[in-house]
């Protein structure tokens, strides 16, 4: 029964794919393509932050961009003031995580749940968005960093190499670093989900009342899960800021929050790989659309999204899994009918997560 995460082939497949991309892409593709893909990597980390707290903690946040933005602005302000980038990058994880603890305490100890939880996160995000938009005047500066209001903060330093000489990363190095971060976040989350802590998270997602009746401190647990997600979102914000060398209040926008929801939903709630795939596909589509100029791109995006929900209600990855399992069953049956030896059924992967 007890199946170790380390025996899950899916994990190794994903990590190998990730490592292959990390190593071979810089050799195979031109600089421009690498920079494009770097963007998908950053947004994938962002998508993972919501995929984790929603899919494995049952916490639906409509305000994930709040932490994304907080991370981005933390990094921007800290790195402009400090000159170096390593400490600001760490701060960009810690500060959103701490804010996540605060907000989580406010929400979960207020017994908010369901859609109300969503709305509170949304409202908090709107407050941030409003306030940061209001910082156009010269009086709004933290140290050397002007917050800039609607126009945002330009000229954010590029990440330094973590080595001693601390050189600025070139696009390839940035890609490799970010890819490594993505792989680490993915593996870290998989391990976390498979751990005892993760199992409790899932039990809370499944049945909050029963979890507390078993003596689990549901609220504290949720605060921890939430703040882990916030820390990851903050880190992705910092990656975004340094990738773009620019950040504006759109980082806090509802659109940014909605995107995270869309990626996770489209990729499949309760999976980690699904949202990453969704990021790549949907971002790629929107990029390609902008180059086509056939009809209004909002129309096209809408025409893609609406049927997507109707056709793939469970999201991309779970549906594809389901289909391939079905196909497998049919194929097996045919084989059996042909009188071949029955293929030993491969056990479905079920390491602590639900299909």
């Amino acid at each position: 029964m007890e199946k170790s995460i380390l025996k899950d082939p899916g994990l190794y497949v994903m990590v190998s794919i990730g490592l292959l991309i990390m190593i071979f892409l810089p050799i195979m593709m031109d600089m421009f393509a690498i920079m494009q893909i770097t963007q998908y990597v950053v947004l994938s980390v962002y998508a993972l932050s919501l995929a984790y707290i929603w899919g494995y903690g049952g916490i639906l946040s409509f305000g994930q961009s709040c932490f994304f933005g907080l991370g981005a602005y933390t990094f921007a302000v800290a790195s402009i003031n400090m000159g170096s980038t390593s400490l600001p990058f760490i701060l960009a994880i810690i500060i959103p995580a701490l804010f996540g603890v605060l907000l989580g305490y406010f929400m979960f100890y207020g017994r908010l749940s369901d859609v109300y939880l969503g709305v509170v996160t949304l409202v908090v995000t709107l407050i941030f968005w409003k306030l940061i938009n209001h910082t156009a005047g010269p009086q709004y500066a933290i140290g050397d960093a002007r917050l800039g209001g609607f126009n945002g903060i330009p000229s954010i330093p590029i990440l330094n190499m973590p080595t001693a000489n601390g050189q600025m990363m070139d696009p390839i190095q940035m890609f490799v670093t970010f890819m490594a971060i993505l792989i680490m976040v993915y593996v870290g989350l998989r391990l976390l989900i498979a751990s005892e802590f993760g199992r409790v998270s899932i039990s809370i997602r499944e049945n909050e009342v029963r979890s507390s009746l078993l003596g689990y401190d549901v609220r504290r647990h949720k605060v921890v899960v939430f703040s882990i997600g916030c820390g990851i979102a903050g880190m992705s914000g910092a990656m975004w800021a340094t990738y773009q060398t620019f950040i504006d209040p759109n980082a806090f926008s509802l659109e940014m929050s909605a995107k995270a929801l869309v990626w996770v939903m489209a990729g499949g709630v309760g999976t980690l790989a699904g949202p990453i795939i969704a990021v790549v596909i949907l971002q790629w589509i929107s990029l390609k659309l902008g180059q086509l100029n056939i009809i209004n791109n909002f129309v096209l995006l809408g025409l893609i999204l609406v049927p997507l929900v109707l056709i793939l209600p469970k999201g991309l990855l779970p549906t594809v899994k389901q289909w391939s399992q079905d196909l497998w069953t049919i194929w097996k049956k045919n084989k059996a009918n042909e009188g071949d030896t029955i293929i030993k059924e491969s056990e479905t992967v079920n390491a602590g997560r639900r299909k």
Partner: protein, 243 residues
């Protein structure tokens, strides 16, 4: 057996808006191993009473003392960790997980990893549901779910076990198993059972408390209660005849 008082409520009252669901209830379980049945028609306040005991509801007035410690107003998980376990009226399980995972999540509260797994298997076999261990519990029958929930409650080795209509939806065989289990439990813990099934009550209980309109109406030996005219009037009527 120790003589420490297990549970005492004083003036326990729970109001929802204008409705008083539990009214000035003074109730006690005096010693370890006691098994008490709660009777009463639907809406008499039994389930609300349970919810107050487990901290799912914060009582409007009154005190609850468990093992000498006041627990009214504490959080559910804190109370549970003091040693109260509850099987709710409608089985409250992790529907997406297997029976094994369900019970193990409970066992983990008291035991370290390896012991927890042993405990889980013990409980599954004690409750006669070993064969269900891999099944997703959302897909099982009501009776099976009752047993799984019972296994979860017992896996955490509570001092006081609250069982809300445990026999509902069970086959005869399952019910016998349940009666046996409940008796086993009283060796190490006290038990409060809410039940309508008189045959089952007779099978397990000695002392009975009757709830009516949120108050304690009568409290006595099971045989005497069943002969009590006014109790029969408010509640037992048919069941008593049937029994």
């Amino acid at each position: 057996m120790s003589d420490q008082e297990i549970l005492r409520t004083t003036g326990l009252t729970m109001r929802f808006g204008g409705v008083t669901a539990v009214n000035n209830v003074n109730f006690s379980i005096d010693h370890e191993g006691e098994l008490r049945c709660l009777l009463g028609p639907n809406g008499a306040g039994k389930s609300t009473f349970f919810k107050c005991l487990t901290g799912q509801l914060v009582p409007t007035e009154g005190t609850i003392t468990f093992m000498g410690e006041p627990i009214a107003g504490m959080d559910t998980h804190e109370i549970v960790n003091l040693g109260i376990g509850i099987k709710t009226q409608v089985p409250n399980l992790f529907n997406g997980l297997s029976a094994y995972d369900n019970v193990r999540l409970a066992a983990k509260r008291k035991h370290l990893k390896r012991q927890a797994i042993e405990k889980t298997f013990d409980m599954l076999s004690n409750c006669g549901i070993e064969n269900l261990k891999g099944s997703e519990v959302g897909l099982l029958s009501h009776g099976q779910r009752q047993l799984i929930e019972l296994a979860m409650v017992l896996a955490a080795e509570p001092t006081l076990v609250l069982l809300d209509e445990p026999a509902a939806g069970m086959t005869g065989e399952e019910r016998d198993r349940l009666a046996f289990l409940v008796k086993e439990v009283t060796k190490t813990a006290s038990v409060i059972v809410v039940e309508h099934d008189m045959a089952f009550i007779k099978q397990i209980a000695k002392n009975v408390t009757v709830f009516h309109r949120g108050e304690i109406f009568a409290e006595d030996d099971v045989k005497k209660i069943m002969k009590n005219k006014s109790v029969q009037e408010i509640y037992l009527g048919k069941s008593a005849d049937a029994a």
